[in-house]
């Protein structure tokens, strides 16, 4: 169970708090693992996130604990990301990757000795990469999932579940169990990673459509996040805009009250961080992401650290944003840190003003929900973890208006919430489904739906399978789940690594169809199956009968008896 929060600890006294701030970090990467190659460029996405984001966030948490600073954050750590972070092959590769970066940084330290400002930055990277190597191996025992889990057990972090492979649930085959299966497998993955039931759920891309609220209610999920207009456009009109959750009308399965609560994103706080033009990350003192020595220095010099011998990002970046043009000045860490502190103070000040303004119009303290992609902090915005650290400390010591809480904390303090049906919505561009359904990617849905139908039909029909057939059907489901990752449609829409996304979609669907054909014709190729199981090895505990469990669960039956969230 989520750690209970004593309402008087950490200043969480309802009567004194003017406003609540709930920061939600959504950590997700698609499942990318290619043991068939010695190295694979797209695996770098994970390695970069570990170095730039996940280890720095854990460092922030450790520093707060060391200094006895109270804090409360929410985090989603999606199943594909958790699977990669606990995969031996990928963690071995990360170890080699970061050790190689330490080596690169050492060479840079030597190369820049005669240029003191540059040399200082090279030393910064050497120390940073050495710290990452040490933290990964010696502090966290190569298991960052367990590291984050420890903060949940300690009571500071609430980790929430998400869909199995981050499938975009509103576009699953209507009338079939696709969305339910994504949710069920995602919750099981959460249980195995964190040893408890999740209270909250991150809908991928905040993509909501009825009856997802019913599906979540049936599975005991007490709350989920949404885009702003899921609540702003809810019926009937909620009285507090996005500054209080609503509760879905669909009751929990045990009749214990209304359905999951919906926590909508606050656009004001989002814009200050996310906006490419107005947000903090674009400040001229911050590190420039694109000026990397992988592009700037002599090719033969950097080649040993480039994947597939193609110029790319190494992680060693010496310049600050400086301005809108191509002219970039050297990065100055102290100035950047000072700016992060300033921006943290600015963010806090704006939330205080916002909370005081809203408090006068509400019957309870307003809640400001601020969800962000976790990878923003440290990867895209190098100083992001510093900003977060400053913000948490300033909230703890420099003011009394705001309190950091999680959505579960809110529901524990406020058991009466307005009931309304949320609107279909997402946090993608346009606010609905267009990012995942447009002319660049709409072709995938007939194939995804056909695969869903085939796997579902076989799962219902096959009784008493042999162990080999069971494995084949389970791997077919695994391939289907991997094909359903919303990341592929997103990438096609963003027109970035399109060929990779198309290939992943085609391969997983082809493998799925082939396995189903082999089951139907009683011709399972065990060697081929074993090869797929070893390469596409997400959810090793998965069994295809989860499809049957989903179908057997009617809308009126539930498997959990959660604590009521609304009377």
């Amino acid at each position: 169970m989520v750690a209970d929060v004593n309402a008087t600890e950490g200043g969480l006294d309802v009567t004194e708090t003017t406003g609540y701030l709930s920061i939600i970090l959504h950590a997700h990467l698609p499942f990318i693992r290619h043991p068939e190659y010695d190295t694979f460029l797209e695996e770098n996405w994970l390695f970069e996130a570990i170095t730039d984001c996940y280890i720095p966030l854990l460092d922030v948490f450790a520093g707060l604990a060391r200094d006895n600073v109270p804090w409360r954050l929410t985090m989603s750590l999606t199943p594909p990301l958790a699977a990669m972070l606990t995969d031996d092959l990928l963690m071995d590769r990360y170890d080699k990757h970061i050790a190689a970066l330490v080596d690169l940084a050492e060479r840079e330290v030597e190369r820049t000795r005669s240029d003191p400002p540059l040399h200082r930055l090279a030393c910064m990277y050497r120390d940073r990469f050495a710290h990452s190597l040490h933290a990964f191996n010696d502090v966290h025992d190569r298991n960052l999932v367990a590291a984050f889990g420890r903060w949940q057990r300690a009571g500071q972090l609430e980790i929430i579940a998400s869909a199995a492979t981050h499938g975009y649930l509103p576009l699953m085959e209507p009338g079939l169990a696709g969305a339910a299966t994504q949710i069920d497998v995602g919750i099981e993955a959460y249980r195995r990673a964190f040893g408890q039931e999740p209270a909250g759920f991150w809908l991928p891309e905040c993509g909501f459509n009825p009856p997802l609220d019913s599906l979540l209610a049936d599975r005991g999920i007490r709350w989920f996040t949404s885009e702003s207009h899921a609540v702003l456009h809810a019926r009937p009109r909620p009285p507090h805009g996005v500054h209080a959750p609503i509760v879905c009308p669909r009751p929990f399965a045990n009749g214990a009250g209304s359905g999951p609560a919906v926590f909508p994103r606050d656009t004001e706080s989002s814009k200050q961080v996310w906006s490419a033009t107005e947000g903090y990350p674009g400040d001229y003192d911050y590190r420039d992401f694109y000026r990397d020595i992988g592009f700037d220095l002599d090719y033969d010099y950097v080649r040993p650290w480039l994947k597939a011998d193609v110029r790319g990002h190494t992680g060693v970046k010496y310049y600050r944003i400086t301005g809108p043009g191509a002219d970039k000045q050297l990065y100055e860490p102290e100035a950047a840190t000072a700016k992060a502190a300033l921006h943290a103070g600015n963010f806090m000040f704006n939330r205080e003003v916002q909370a005081r303004h809203l408090r006068g119009t509400m019957d309870r303290p307003p809640l400001i929900v601020a969800p962000y992609d976790a990878e923003l902090f440290g990867h895209w915005w190098f100083e992001g973890p510093q900003w977060l650290d400053f913000l948490i400390r300033k909230i703890a010591y420099d003011q009394t208006t705001l309190r950091l809480i999680t959505p579960s904390d809110y529901l524990a303090m406020h058991t009466q919430n307005h009931r309304a049906q949320p609107s279909p919505s997402s946090w993608g561009y346009g606010g609905y489904n267009e990012v995942w359904l447009n002319e660049s990617n709409d072709w995938i849905y007939r194939h995804l739906h056909a695969a869903e139908r085939t796997v579902h039909t076989l799962a219902m029909r096959i009784q008493n399978p042999t162990p080999l057939v069971r494995r084949a059907l389970t791997q077919a489901l695994r391939e289907l789940l991997l094909a359903q990752s919303s990341d592929w449609a997103f990438i096609m829409s963003a027109d970035t690594h399109v060929s990779y996304a198309v290939r992943r979609t085609e391969k997983h669907l082809t493998h799925c169809r082939e396995l189903c054909r082999q089951v139907e014709t009683d011709s399972v190729d065990e060697a081929g199956l074993a090869d797929l199981e070893s390469r596409h090895n997400i959810f090793p505990w998965l069994d295809y009968t989860v499809l049957r469990d989903v179908s057997a669960t009617s809308a009126t039956e539930g498997r959990h008896a959660p604590t009521p969230v609304s009377v």
Partner: protein, 188 residues
């Protein structure tokens, strides 16, 4: 993220993962795109099409229904798809779009928050429905009025389908008439 030299790995794998053009299953599915747009995709297996002059003439139509009146006694404002008979046309306003047997298209709606369904069929002297879709309700696209319940406002409304390239509007009439050939649709 770093750019990918993925093409060389594709060439080295040496096998095709091309997906089939068609499956054995006939289907008609609607997916909501946004408050004003629904995506329809379909494929009808030839064996599921009766031999008629309309089939020989390739006179397939996608009939889009505007469901604002609950069908089949559905409660709580929930709509159900039209049954596979022409009686649906007597109850629900509809619009016909000439289509081919396997295709997809985006259909723009004149208003958000509408409940729609579709049938794929042959149109000759009468409409022969062959496939029926799921029911989709598009998002409301705006905050609720003070007196608007979450079940939605009932009542007849005006024409709702609008198809065409940007700036060129065609409005289907509520009692159904095949639309003009000036469609905007996407091919798969």
């Amino acid at each position: 993220m770093s750019t990918s030299p993925f093409e060389h790995t594709l060439a080295s794998e040496g096998r095709s993962y091309a997906l089939p053009l068609t499956y054995d299953h006939s289907f008609l599915t609607l997916l909501p795109k946004d408050p004003h747009c629904v995506f329809a995709q379909w494929d009808i297996h030839e064996s599921h099409v009766p031999s008629t002059p309309a089939k020989e003439a390739g006179a397939f139509v996608l009939r889009m229904y505007d469901i604002h009146v609950p069908l089949n006694g559905a409660e709580n404002g929930e709509a159900s798809a039209p049954s596979d008979t022409n009686s649906a046309a007597d109850v629900q306003p509809f619009v016909d779009f000439p289509v081919s047997p396997r295709h997809s298209m985006y259909i723009r709606l004149t208003e958000p928050g509408r409940t729609v369904a579709a049938q794929l069929g042959l149109l000759d002297e009468e409409f022969i429905p062959l496939l029926t879709s799921n029911v989709v309700t598009t998002p409301p696209g705006r905050p609720a009025h003070a007196d608007e319940s979450w079940r939605g406002a009932a009542g007849a409304r005006g024409p709702m389908f609008q198809v065409g390239p940007a700036g060129a509007h065609w409005r289907g009439e509520s009692r159904g008439r095949a639309g003009s050939s000036d469609f905007a649709w996407s091919r798969t």
